[in-house]
């Protein structure tokens, strides 16, 4: 195919925002219903579980894009010679953090899906609800890993929007890029505060 490498990288960028980004927002939104009480959270989990074609949707719309974006992303990231200590500019640190958070999110997501969706729900037959999550998150180490995993995933998504705006030629000038950079940072603060607040509600 003509422009194969180009398209693969462009689909990598698209999958990050359209599939993974949209799911991340939906996921944090659903989880944050816990702020309205345990019953409220269990209700929204049940509503999702009642979705038709749930497993194919989980595999095709969420699992496959995550695997594609994650595996290819690691291959790309490993090719970089990171140099923020030599060239300590803001955007270079963001470039470096984008890769560090990618590695953390990669490990976190595999572990998160493995322990809850595969071992917990599919193999263990546990009902994923408030009680189950309360038990999981009551372990301080697990809670800490969730905090790190959440912050990394959200940062990787919001900072990824900055790269996305350039990759797709949406914002070209330095002023526009600066505005996007600040806006995505604000988005990081907003989304991660929601996520962190939701996490604390599980251990109350």
């Amino acid at each position: 195919m003509k422009n194969f490498d180009f398209w693969i990288r462009r689909i990598h960028s698209l999958s990050g925002v359209i599939a993974l980004g949209a799911f991340l927002l939906e996921h944090i939104f659903t989880v944050s219903t816990v702020m309205g009480g345990p019953a409220n959270f269990d209700k929204s989990v049940a509503a999702l579980a009642a979705m038709p074609f749930l497993v194919p949707i989980e595999i095709i719309a969420i699992g496959m894009p995550i695997a594609f974006h994650g595996i290819l992303g690691v291959v790309y990231a490993l090719k970089a010679k990171n140099n923020p200590l030599r060239y300590g500019y803001w955007n270079n640190w963001m470039f470096y953090l984008q890769r560090i958070t990618a590695y953390i999110a990669f490990v976190f997501i595999i572990w998160h899906v493995w322990t809850l969706r595969i071992v917990g729900k599919a193999m263990g037959g546990h009902l994923i609800g408030y009680d189950f999550m309360h038990n999981v998150l009551s372990d301080p180490l697990t809670f800490g890993f969730y905090v790190i995993g959440l912050l990394s995933s959200v940062f990787h998504f919001t900072n990824g929007l900055f790269g996305f705006s350039i990759t797709w030629g949406i914002v070209t000038g330095p002023r526009g890029q600066r505005v996007v950079s600040i806006a995505t940072l604000a988005l990081f603060v907003l989304i991660s505060s929601v996520g962190l607040t939701a996490l604390t509600h599980f251990v109350k």
């Binding site: 180009f6 462009r10 010679k81 030599r86 070209t172």
Partner: protein
Amino acid sequence: MAEIKKKVHFIIERQDGPNSQPYTEEFEVDYRPALNVVASLMEIQKNPVTKDGKKTTAVVWECNCLEKVCGACMMVINGKAQQACAALIDHLEQPIRLSPARTFPVIRDLAIDRSVMFESLKKIHGWVDVDGTWEVHNDAPRQNPKTATIAYEISRCMTCGCCMDACPNVNQSSEFIGPAPIAQAHLFNLHPIGEYQKEERLDALMEKGGLASCGNSQNCVQACPKDIKLTEYIAKLNRDTNKQALKSLFNK
């Protein structure tokens, strides 16, 4: 009382040949006002004796114009790739550490082989085809003066390679052609005659190691000694290549 002469302390990363092991040697050069790194290297060349008084070979490096126009004397000075002729001692922290820009193959000491950049310029069709269909000076298409201003800015690129050394995605294990040749594609796309090969240039940028390998670290625009707005042209070319990729997907 004899006046103590101010010295400039250099730590230079040396290498005898393309495949030899690098080692460092320290030198001291007499300070004088407005001294720069190239002039200091010339002093070392005249008297190649290390700081400890050991006689050694002269340090090899490249330079030509001595006024930040040719790009030949690019080396890593205190961690950052820059032109040695424009690096004033007064602006540098001592000891001054010099090393070759290892993004490129080292020939000897500070001299590097930048021919990969020339190869990349060939890949992106970095020239204007003058095929003789019209008088160049009489009926040639004109360029908007505003566009000419942008073209002039990009045309000042001297292929020094600072942006290539600063870019995390340009290295031995990646195929990325780097910021400099990408910006040159934009320069020739802006040209009223050069524009005729715009499609070929954008196609070249869409090949493996082309524009899509950019990771937006934006070091290039900081490192460029000619203040070329590299990231802006990369973003513009992103727009252009996306359009062309979609066109060739649906129209061909």
